[in-house]
Symmetry: none
DNA sequence: TATGAATGAGGATTCATTCAT
DNA sequence: AATGAATGAATCCTCATTCAT
């Protein structure tokens, strides 16, 4: 029945309530991915979780609540995983490259996660803002390291975010080739002020260091 | 009642049926802009057009039809206007810069148009594909002129499109400053392989040639 | 199908919309009478009217709207009928007696109307207030004629109204005998300051003058 | 948490089960008063009692049961208190006057009790009947004492009850003045056949004898 | 063509009630 | 006894769509 699992494993060791809630959240991601967030119905989420519709309301106040809870949890989980993967990387350029590549890799490996995240970003300004906060950290680091010469403001963050999300969409749609991550990373570096050749080199170096 | 007009003027000289249809299309844009495409209801579109709900179905088979017809017509109209504005520009770089700046200018001047277009792009793959076709023309011209060194494929087009749409969102949200068009154009050139300085220079030149 | 008709006849000569609305209002009265106002469901009202549930919302914004519209229309219709019946009566005492007797007679002859009115009064302060306005007219007339000596204020009106409504409940429950109208009228006169014997005499006189 | 207590104190000395049940009953009164009986939900009662919803069903078969149990207990408790207050009063007229005044005083001092009682009376014929039994005792005493000349039957009891309940509603709504109890008592005496002046005098005497 | 009343399926939400712990 | 998660029927309401006028 359950086709996608992200929160269920973490909740396996917790109480029954937490497990059911996790089931619902996983089901919500699957439904968001299939039909989009606005078209998702509470009944379908409950059904996908193998629960009665009323059970949904034991765990969430209303549809808006699952949407925001799930979306923020999604972003937090992705951010957590990226942080973990890049724990040892100091260089901001390498961080940006790795984050971008890993992000696209993760979402490609778990399309429901990718679609749900993408659709959530389109609908929830709060989520976009939160994602911007995550991205800004590495970008700010690069500015401090003197490698990103572009002035960093909300508009730049929005554009870089939009670039990555459009790459995500390409990947999920099947349009993109295997090197989409590398290309996206390179493009992103250019938006941040890195030279074409330097960007290409940095991506190549990252590919060598973290073939993934 | 009717607050936004795009198709009505063109239809003014045509038959009554065409005029009513144009009314409905303009109303649809306004409603899409306000509430989003999924949340838009046929009744509200008809009401916004000052017509009875039944009239809608005289002109469109169903809701999906207005969505696609209006969206594609929107894109075509914008493309037509850009083409007209750039009739005399030969240089692909200048065309890209002008198209980007004019696009953001148009959508900023007519927020309903901008919002409707943005939301339609998020929902309709067909529309994105069509927009890609428009963009590809100037980009291909640049390749032919030897100025865009990046290999042009669907993925690149998707990314460039995503960049512009995210800039559009920033502009509509009020986040962006007045130079958003110039910055977006410059970023786009970089994605297409133009050097940082060359991109900056090209945008500066365009600003001189076509101040607005 | 339709078991109770109050508004339908008046609407028979009007447009289709008015007729359907009247059907719904009559059905609402029947349902309010059977189950009470809070327990009445929109679906049941529509079903009782022989219409689809969605049709309800073509004619009323929501459940609250039917409740208040129907209740006020009910009160207005009863008041209209009483006014018509008492057009020629000048004496306030006779008016009070006749109004009370006729009111109980009408509601006894049409139990759904009686029950719906009673339940509406229990739930809608606005309706009670409106009924108070009607009652106050004849009472004020009696004060002007110098026959009602009791100071007339909201509290007195509330009490007199409560007396009549409890008599109505008795009648509808089958507890009351045929002379309930006369007894209620007499009690009401006493509350208004009329002497026991005078009240009895006035009621007797009214019975002679208006046997029905 | 618990704002209203009526049964809890009595149950303090009893077993745990009785105490929990009393908590639920007090909570039910508070909820009935706030939202009405039909709109009261079992969950809200349990929450108001500081208990889990399942606990409710340990003590009551279903919602209907609390409604009737609580309502009848409410009436019994009020009657008990009135009886106690009037232990030494022999004269039926004085008893009626005092009962009416004390009843309105008690309900005014404890609005939740007043509202819950009022709403319960509107919904439960059984409760009205039981209240009628209580009232009939003093009235029958008055008949035996030869002071109430009106024939006492169900209809009279219903009307007298209705009068008092409408006075209660006025008091709870804030419409009524401080002398509402005295006025209600006087009106009630008139309904029972006492002369205007005698009724006024009896109430005045009661006010002297029992200022509160 | 245009109208707008009517439809009924579908979605969000509530709530009395059950049951395993 | 107490808990509180789970249930699913019932309710309100919306909306795309049809159709007679």
């Amino acid at each position: 029945m359950q086709t996608f699992t992200m929160f269920a494993p973490e909740a396996a060791s917790l109480g029954k309530s937490a497990r059911t809630r996790a089931q619902l959240m996983d089901a919500a991601i699957a439904v968001f991915a299939r039909h989009g967030i606005e078209a998702a119905s509470v009944n379908e989420i409950a059904r996908a979780a193998g629960l009665a519709n009323g059970t949904f309301y034991v765990h969430f106040r209303d549809k808006d609540e699952v949407v925001s809870v799930v979306s923020l949890a999604l972003a937090a989980e992705i951010a957590r995983q990226l942080d973990e993967d890049m724990r040892d990387i100091e260089c901001a350029i390498q961080r940006v490259v790795c984050a971008t590549r890993r992000f696209l890799q993760i979402t490609r490996e778990q399309p429901p996660l990718g679609w749900a995240f993408l659709k959530a970003c389109q609908v929830l300004p709060d989520l976009r803002q939160q994602v911007g906060v995550y991205m800004r950290q590495d970008i700010a680091r690069g500015v401090k390291q003197g490698v990103f010469t572009e002035p960093v403001d909300d508009f730049l963050i929005d554009c870089v975010g939009g670039l990555v999300l459009s790459a995500l969409l390409s990947c999920l749609s099947g349009t993109a080739a295997a090197d989409a991550g590398a290309r996206t990373a390179e493009m992103q570096l250019r938006l941040l002020g890195i030279d074409k050749e330097a960007a290409r080199a940095a991506v190549g170096q990252a590919l060598d260091a973290h073939p993934i």
